[in-house]
Symmetry: C2
Subunit: 289 residues, 2 copies
Amino acid sequence: MKPKILVIGSPLAVISQAEWVLFSSRYEVIEYAFATHDDFISSMKSGECFTIDGIMRVGINLPSGAVKIGQGWTRKFLDCFPPSLRVIVNFGHGFEQEDIEGLASRSIKFYNTTGGAEATATIGIYLIISAFRKLSIYERMVRNNEFLPALRDSAHSSRDPCGKSLGIVGMGVIGQVVAKQVAALNMQIHCLNRKSSRETLNDSKTQLPPMTLHDTLESLLQVVDCVILTCSYSKSTHHLLGNEAFFKMKPGMVVVNIARGKCIDEEALCRALETGVVSAAGLDVYENE
Amino acid sequence: MKPKILVIGSPLAVISQAEWVLFSSRYEVIEYAFATHDDFISSMKSGECFTIDGIMRVGINLPSGAVKIGQGWTRKFLDCFPPSLRVIVNFGHGFEQEDIEGLASRSIKFYNTTGGAEATATIGIYLIISAFRKLSIYERMVRNNEFLPALRDSAHSSRDPCGKSLGIVGMGVIGQVVAKQVAALNMQIHCLNRKSSRETLNDSKTQLPPMTLHDTLESLLQVVDCVILTCSYSKSTHHLLGNEAFFKMKPGMVVVNIARGKCIDEEALCRALETGVVSAAGLDVYENE
């Protein structure tokens, strides 16, 4: 008997027709098409969904009339999931909005898709270059017909990331791609000596560039020219860069965040920028988006 | 007898004191301190500069009262250079403003400093990412309080350079650094099969990534997703990307120029952008700066 998978939305915008045909031949696919959350819950409690083995939430391309299942959905529906459910595959990033502990307590495995690592890392590289070189400022000046003032000022305030040191906080998939990309910019790489990342660092298959390891975030922040956050968001990384961190870091630091906005205390960051402790910040995310 | 070198300006802003002391011990250094160009010319014709072996033009940090020696100076002073002059080292980039042929006919070797290759290449990487992802547009939208419209639009129009192909036109020092940096972004690299660059490509010391070679610019432009100009400017590269090139290139091309503005016919580029032949352009230089 094929495993029974509830597919919420259609992945056809992100995978090929051939892949979808293959998937449909291996699994019994149930299409999600509920007009209300209550209908969905009822079905999970005694209807068609009561015997599903897995859920794949794509989120996009829902059938017309079907109500959206958004971020935080595993928290909302945890108590309604049928006893047969063993695995959830979620098209998304981050774990903080889902009830990972609750799912684990019910022996339901939870996976996010990971396809966006390169794209996210590339934004990190862009923000590192932009912040060191202050390119956003100069582009706005040039667009404002201030070509020569921008050129003159850039000769004094603009620095090249080449040869500078970068601290990567979070050596997951994205952090590893960032490490490889910035190594090509000739940046020296520093990271935290975490138990969870030591295996990755020592695995020759990952082909990571050489890195300087630090036992504490404080030790890392005291020496690097730039810190980039690529960690996941949790209680332990909430306001990871706050007053205390900004107080201890090497003055003139460049701060880049491609993780979650709430990993940085934005009020503290603004003060650090005003006092020059932080010379530039490249933010892909905000505390309140 | 130590070679006699005229040093125009002081390199102390760009090299260490120790390096300068070493240089001064190896050469007889003459400091340039002329209040007018005529004084300088007179000195080259019969004065202190009449017996110099070399000139190093730093250009910055001139003694007070000394008149500036700017771009195009070898053209201006060619006929006045003393017969003893054998070598010129110029702190600058590009050759198009200097009289390279005239210097060669007088057996005077001319060198530009090359220190800026990484910094220039890094701007190339920034512009490649920015143009593929359309980040400049979205940053301006976000600054204009259009966070959500920017986010929604970017999901459809923004592409990641990862996995795309890049044609590098000009495999000099800068082109080689660009090749190494974009290889880390997982871009496939194409370049022209020029006699001048074949040695570089086959030299294992340069550690260049694998590249697809093309016999003509047209062949390269027909297949790549992005073209970056890193060539020098000369008659043969004037308007290298003009109507003819835009007519033949793969539609939707991303165009990046970190070479000279005049390598692109800007009117033709604007038309190509309007018709969609070029999907985005990242320009570090303009035709008339």
